[in-house]
Symmetry: C2
Subunit: 209 residues, 2 copies
């Protein structure tokens, strides 16, 4: 698939995951950098793109796609040459989706409730059950590794892996060896290093003199 991608981005934010993904597929793109401190994400021009008032959003071939998970899933399928998803019909496709959806449905809400020290609801009602179960399930998923799909690196590592790295950095996940080793592997990806360098530069530029 061709056509330049526009990434509506802010650093640091959830859209760093989308930047990492775009660097993985190696497609041409341009950044539209929003200043979240100035609340540019709530300006009418941007709300027309994403009424949720949050980054990331991408534009590609006339489509607007929001939600980091959707962006990763979409790009992985749209740029099959990058080999970032088992395509429909591949026996690993189900496992791939399992972890792609685990992130938004279980991991992120569990981490947020944990960091806000909120009393969770009844286990059966919470989409993630308990924080402990979520963390253990996550660890089990990558214990054998090296990736979520075993030997095969995929957009699930870009998406869920970014959350693990973020969770370790801010001590929202326990400092288990499995997580630390996994993030060390993820940090070796040249695409991740390029994305992090771009974010560092943006953050440095944003600092008041």
């Amino acid at each position: 698939m061709s056509g330049k991608i526009i990434l509506h981005h802010a650093a640091p934010s959830r859209s760093s995951t989308a930047l990492f993904m775009i660097e993985e597929i190696g497609a041409p793109y341009e950044l539209d950098v929003l200043d979240l401190q100035k609340e540019e994400q709530y300006r009418p021009e941007y709300l027309a793109i994403n009424p949720m008032g949050k980054v990331p959003a991408i534009e590609h071939e006339g489509q607007v796609i929001t939600e980091a998970g959707a962006i990763c899933a979409y790009l992985a399928d749209a740029f099959p040459a990058a080999n970032l998803a088992p395509l429909p019909g591949d026996p690993l496709r189900g496992l791939y989706f399992r972890w792609m959806f685990f992130q938004g449905s279980c991991l992120e809400p569990a981490i947020i409730d944990h960091v806000l020290k909120r009393e969770p609801g009844r286990r059966g009602m919470m989409p993630y059950g308990t924080y402990e179960t979520t963390v253990d399930t996550l660890e089990k998923a990558i214990e054998k590794g090296p990736w979520f799909l075993g030997e095969r690196y995929s957009a699930a590592d870009v998406y869920v892996g970014s959350a693990i790295a973020w969770g370790l950095q801010f001590k929202l996940l326990p400092e288990r060896e499995t997580f630390k080793r996994y993030v060390a592997r993820l940090n070796e990806r040249p695409a991740r290093q390029r994305a992090m360098a771009i974010d560092q530069k943006l953050m440095a530029a944003a600092k008041p003199a």
Copy 2:
């Protein structure tokens, strides 16, 4: 794709969405019904399938897939004859993923915080921003309709639509005309009627005499 599907199910629960989806694709399946009151979802045999201790989970062609969103996305791609997803390369594919991921990342956490009357965190930190924004964005997505992808019915309607129906039923979403009309359309789907009839039967059988 062939091969019988096993759905690990309980009624009523999140797995009703997976049952609806399986009825839509028209593939052969069997139910493994768990009694959540008896906590059968935490038995070791079931935790070996889904360590999160929750339904739904499906088994298909040797794979285990958990998370209702993942199950819907997987089945939509695996059974293309049912025409429940724009496939890779289709211009609607991005929009389709946008709403598939919106459910777990925004809608469900927003509804749960709302029903638990929990103080939300800082807007930029919450994956869904605010409950009001989430509800308005959802309404805008189906305002034109009749479906999330316009004229095209898809697994996004099965998955996110089930959440809208559930949200209206338990008054977790405001009773807006857009939502009511949308659910009325969804309830006309024969697959949904079949799934609801199965669940009614299961619930009746579970009631103590």
